[in-house]
């Protein structure tokens, strides 16, 4: 696979991270990563409720080798810890998801959400400031009207670039359960937010009401058998969306059919392989992420051990299944004990939908080329990420004699997990979040 045969890795860390590789606070753990539609900006959210936006450096004739470096553009506190006094529950400030809106003017807009509240943020630049007010002096203090003898018009003068983020909308009090997904519709007027049992449709301009479009809460909660785990709008058809469940199924719904989309239009489910049936089958079949391809023809789902690609025109089975770390199948009991079996991995498409990527343990992440059927395991680590270094493929030894440079399954560090990754929309640049570190890798083919 030609992609990522040579790499220029960069390492970014949140501004307040302690500069020690082994020490970081819980709040610094990155919880979501997302490129914007052009790939110019990269947003990260963390458990402390902060959003850090990186911007790609512009191409310069003088510093051509610096093209592609991402530097911190803006940092702001998106969500704060809250307390629900009615239910006596603390609401975490952790950012669950960030989604960018397409750029329509000079400012950038993004949605960020924690467990209960979605916020629309405007990120804008200010590089000029008005000077020469009549009624105020240069420090902003009001002048004595008696001293004003002339009339002058304020003029805009250049200033140091300042990037400011302001919350433009707050969409609150619409979710009883924990929000797991947000997705911007292709009409750019609406978006949806999904929790464990319900999906709501919002208009960006209206914050005090939303439409409930999916409700799977049973009348008797004792009959609850599945929850919603992820949801996404179709990239082109504003009436179509999909949502995945904890039972490993995907439902495609058409909002034109009815106001409440409890009845799906398409139902994607693969029959369970009886030979793989185990004690924890139900847990590992839960889908943790669902993503439409850029073309809108396919959907990709991630469960605990595999990534599957589905054709929207075929509901009875996926067209492709990729084993991410099948060597863990025999370790499920241990993974249940240390809670790793509940980890929710995400998956991403590359810009041309030819390669898919997802994370694993030991700071490994995997790429699968759909055309050549080749796959590679790479590692995001400081030792392997020196400037201009080439990422070497890694291999996990599942049994027998371990070769040099291979790592045995028992040596994997399950505390180092890559749950969140992002792929530039048009170039081979990837962002990989490893706990509190953000790695950005770029394919440089000379």
């Amino acid at each position: 696979m030609k992609c990522f045969s040579r790499y220029l890795p960069y390492i970014f860390r949140p501004a307040n991270t302690i500069l020690s590789s082994s020490c970081h606070t819980e709040a610094d753990i990155i919880s979501t990563v997302e490129f914007n539609h052009t790939g110019e900006l990269l947003a990260t959210g963390d458990k402390g409720g902060r959003v850090v936006i990186f911007q790609r450096e512009q191409e310069s004739k003088n510093q051509i080798h610096r093209r592609g470096e991402y530097n911190v553009y803006s940092t702001f506190q998106s969500h704060e810890p809250e307390f629900d006094y009615l239910k006596s529950l603390e609401i975490e400030e952790k950012i669950n998801k960030i989604r960018w809106l397409p750029q329509q003017n000079a400012a950038y807009f993004l949605l960020s959400t924690n467990d209960k509240t979605v916020k629309l943020w405007k990120v804008s630049e200010r590089d000029k400031r008005p000077e020469g007010y009549n009624l105020k002096d240069e420090e902003g203090r009001l002048r004595d009207p008696a001293t004003i003898t002339t009339l002058r018009v304020p003029v805009l003068r250049p200033m140091d670039l300042m990037v400011e983020a302001t919350p433009r909308r707050v969409f609150a009090n619409a979710h009883t359960y924990h929000i797991n997904s947000i997705s911007v519709n292709s009409d750019y007027e609406t978006y949806m937010s999904a929790d464990d049992l319900r999906i709501n449709l919002w208009n960006f301009e209206i914050t005090n009401q939303s439409f409930n479009i999916v409700d799977i809460k049973p009348a008797n909660m004792e009959e609850l058998t599945e929850v919603i785990t992820a949801a996404e709008f179709h990239p082109h058809h504003c009436n179509t969306f999909v949502y995945s469940s904890s039972k490993g199924t995907i439902r495609l719904c058409d909002m034109r059919a009815s106001a409440l989309c409890d009845r799906h239009t398409k139902f994607f489910e693969e029959p369970e392989d009886p030979s793989n049936r185990s004690f924890f089958s139900e847990i590992i079949s839960s889908i943790s992420d669902v993503k439409f391809s850029h073309s809108g023809r396919y959907i990709m789902t991630r469960d605990y051990l595999t990534v599957k690609v589905w054709d929207l025109n075929m509901e009875n089975r996926p067209i492709e299944t990729y084993q991410v770390h099948d060597y863990l199948r025999s370790k499920l009991c241990s993974l249940y004990e240390n809670d790793c079996i509940f980890d929710k991995f995400e998956c991403v498409w590359n810009g041309s939908d030819s390669v898919i990527m997802t994370g694993s343990y030991n700071n490994f992440f995997r790429m699968f080329d759909r055309n050549t059927k080749r796959d590679v395991t790479l590692e995001a680590s400081r030792e392997n990420s020196k400037p201009r270094a080439i990422l070497k493929p890694r291999k996990v030894c599942v049994g027998g004699k371990r070769r040099k440079d291979e790592i045995s399954v028992d040596s994997l560090d399950f505390s180092k997990k890559i749950l969140h990754t992002a792929w530039h929309p048009s170039e081979n640049i990837i962002a990989v979040a490893a706990t509190n570190n953000l790695y950005i890798f770029q394919d440089k083919v000379n």
């Binding site: 239910k87 603390e90 009883t176 049992l197 609850l224 058998t225 785990t229 139900e282 847990i283």
Partner: protein, 223 residues
């Protein structure tokens, strides 16, 4: 036997995780709780099926069980299960009666409609609506006797319980049930695990987990 031990260990581990999840920030996670309940159910089914296969004779109250009030939970759990039933929750799936050999019919009792013929307890709960007072007074008497012992174990439970304001939250039924039951389970487990629960050995004290877990598995999704 190994299968039974493993199933018991998984059940204990799951209950511990369920309890621990209440303490985490953000409150109970519905998805996590559902997954834990599924594992508990699978473990229970495996445990019961292994028991059927082994055709073990039913074990009554363990003779080796000392008369420590904290280890009375076997009776206490069953009585408090009935208390929970009386609180208005739906009748729990029928726990294995100590005198009866488990049958294959009872294994899917969790999900299937429960027949009324299986044991005295079920019959009494179904007849409660019919007003048959023959069995109820004796149950009430037993409950009154056990309240003292509940009080003794409540001291242990209090140390484990969060303040009531926190314990309620979004899932009050589950919180109440866990507060009442889990102290008993912890007392019958080898040790209250600070980090990870140890393997639950095949002690007779684990026996009452059947009835408790029936309630717990159901109450997990009852909120």
């Amino acid at each position: 036997m190994e299968v039974q031990k493993e199933a018991q260990r998984i059940m204990t581990l799951s209950v511990w995780k369920m309890y621990h999840s209440r303490m985490q920030r953000g409150g109970l996670r519905l998805h996590r709780s559902l997954q834990l309940s599924l594992v508990m159910r699978s473990a229970r089914e495996l445990y019961l099926s292994a028991k059927v296969e082994a055709l073990e004779p039913e074990v009554s109250l363990p003779p080796a069980c000392p008369s420590d009030p904290r280890l009375h939970p076997p009776r206490e759990v069953e009585s408090t299960v009935e208390t929970a039933t009386a609180d208005g929750e739906q009748p729990s799936p029928e726990p294995m009666d100590t005198q009866e050999a488990p049958t294959a019919e009872e294994i899917p009792a969790y999900s299937a409609p429960r027949p009324a013929k299986v044991s005295r307890k079920r019959r009494s709960s179904s007849l409660r609506d019919g007003g048959d007072a023959g069995l109820v007074p004796s149950k009430k008497a037993r409950l009154e006797e056990k309240e003292e012992e509940e009080g003794l174990s409540s001291e242990v439970a209090d140390r484990l319980q969060p303040p009531p304001a926190q314990a309620e939250g979004a899932f009050p039924n589950l919180a109440r049930v866990l507060q009442r039951r889990f102290s008993g389970l912890l007392n019958c487990s080898p040790a209250a695990p600070p980090t990870a629960p140890p393997a639950c050995e095949a002690k007779p004290a684990c026996r009452p987990a059947d009835s408790m877990l029936n309630v717990l598995v159901r109450t997990v999704v009852a909120f």
